[in-house]
């Protein structure tokens, strides 16, 4: 059949179902709200399972309160969702067992993580909590890169690592801060052990 002879059908364009992008609303612990696409959320195993379990429709998203993420602040959550939106649709990486772990930091991620170490710490913590594998990998790689070419003293400063003496002092201070009654019991227990007693009671 030629094109000219084909039957003409009037199409009501409004009736064609247009695939609408599904968004979810999240709220940080300092009450900042974010709209995040369904595809971006798939980067986070925790959030993906959460929204699946909630079974929200588009109307629910608009009518119900935003999903609260209570232990992440707005500044950190903004970075997390920016990362998820940029990497939406990408496959979740699987550990190939390589030593050292092979992780490339793309330009976008490098710019996103051009932040102070306090915020980087929060970002890593959030990536771990929300189970965003690749964000955790790149942020950990950034922290690992800080060790390159550093002397022991520099490593101590960069990673805030106490010496043995400082660890001992902190342990003693923690013991001293203990409940005095608990400390008495502990001391008595140690005393009885020294005297060769098998049982405390």
């Amino acid at each position: 059949m030629s094109v000219e002879n084909a039957p003409v059908v009037d199409v009501d364009e409004a009736a064609i179902p247009v695939e609408k992008k599904m968004y979810y609303r999240f709220e940080s612990n300092d009450k900042k709200e974010f709209r995040v696409s369904e595809l971006a959320i798939q980067q986070s195993e925790t959030l993906n399972r959460l929204v699946e379990a909630m079974g929200y429709t588009s109307e629910d998203v608009e009518n119900k309160p935003a999903i609260a993420i209570e232990n992440i602040d707005g500044k950190t959550l903004k970075l997390v969702f920016q990362w998820c939106e940029h990497h939406k649709g990408e496959a979740i990486p699987v550990d190939d067992g390589s030593v050292p772990k092979i992780v490339e930091i793309p330009e976008f991620d490098a710019k996103l993580m051009d932040i102070d170490n306090g915020l980087l710490f929060k970002l890593i913590w959030a990536a771990d909590y929300l189970n965003i594998v690749q964000l955790l990998n790149v942020s950990c790689k950034k922290v690992a890169n800080m060790a390159q070419g550093k002397t022991p003293a520099q490593l101590r400063r960069v990673y805030l690592l106490p010496s043995d003496e400082e660890d001992e002092a902190a342990k003693r201070a923690a013991q001293e801060a203990q409940d005095p009654r608990a400390r008495e019991v502990e001391e008595e227990f140690e005393e009885r052990k020294r005297q060769g007693g098998n049982s405390f009671f």
Partner: protein
């Protein structure tokens, strides 16, 4: 600004350590007992072992990351402009350390013999990673007894080596004889010897194949000379070896075996 690494969950710390190169993790482990325990528990084992050099310099490299190494020297070798830090490694090896920017590695300076420093550091790394020494390069550049000491020490720790390179520039026939006797069949893949005029022209050594096992290699390049003679070229880390067919047992190049 500092990064509060020890406040991170252990799973996250484990990812950070596993993004580091083996020698960076070792450097981290030097810092305190807590760092040692954390890194030793959370690190993954590299796939390949260690490469030791004991010749004009003494060094340890991880075969997984060739570009960096620990180099052990004595106090007398400390450069004038070195920025040093004092460290006691594993509670047994007091030394001064500095970073070597050119080689992206760490230089350690020990008070006494560099051999004692090297073996103390080796024991520490071997215990930390449970890795074998795979390759060793030895030479008598600093002392004629150095190759013997190194080889004796390695074979007191483990049965065999993959590769052994020996620069006998300053070794006598007797020393060479001792080393070959010591090596016997304990070098499994490659034995490279740099012969020089110091070794007598008539020096000969025949390696016995006591267990008569066949030596096999899985990858080689083949060359054919104009007269049809075939040679297999096997690549080592820094050198190659060429086997010309037929071999010492008269076996021809195994064409059929390869075609199967």
């Amino acid at each position: 600004m500092s990064f509060p690494s020890l406040r991170l969950p252990l799973v996250v710390l484990s990812i950070i350590f596993n993004c580091m190169r083996p020698e960076e993790i070792i450097r981290f482990s030097f810092l305190s007992k807590r760092c040692y325990t954390l890194t030793k528990t959370l690190k993954k084992k590299p796939k390949r072992g260690l490469d030791i050099m004991f010749c004009s310099y003494a060094s340890i490299e991880f075969l997984d990351s060739f570009s960096t190494r620990f180099e052990v020297s004595e106090f007398s070798d400390i450069p004038e402009d070195a920025q040093l830090e004092f460290l006691v490694i594993g509670g047994t090896l007091p030394c001064f350390v500095s970073m070597n920017r050119k080689r992206d590695g760490m230089d350690l300076y020990c008070q006494y013999d560099r051999f004692d420093g090297l073996t103390a550091l080796l024991k520490y790394i071997i215990d930390f990673y449970e890795l074998p020494i795979e390759n060793i390069s030895i030479g008598a550049d600093k002392h004629t007894k150095d190759p013997k000491r190194a080889l004796d020490w390695v074979f007191s720790q483990q049965e065999a080596l993959n590769e052994c390179y020996f620069d006998c520039d300053r070794s006598s026939d007797e020393e060479l004889q001792y080393l070959f006797d010591r090596i016997g069949n304990r070098v499994e893949k490659f034995l490279g010897v740099l012969m020089t005029s110091n070794v007598g022209e008539n020096f000969r050594y025949t390696f016995s194949n006591e267990d008569e096992t066949e030596r096999r290699f899985t990858f080689s390049y083949e060359l054919t000379r104009y007269d049809g003679t075939i040679a297999s070229v096997l690549l080592g880390n820094r050198s190659f070896c060429m086997c010309v067919w037929p071999d010492f047992d008269g076996k021809l190049y195994p064409v059929q075996e390869l075609e199967e």
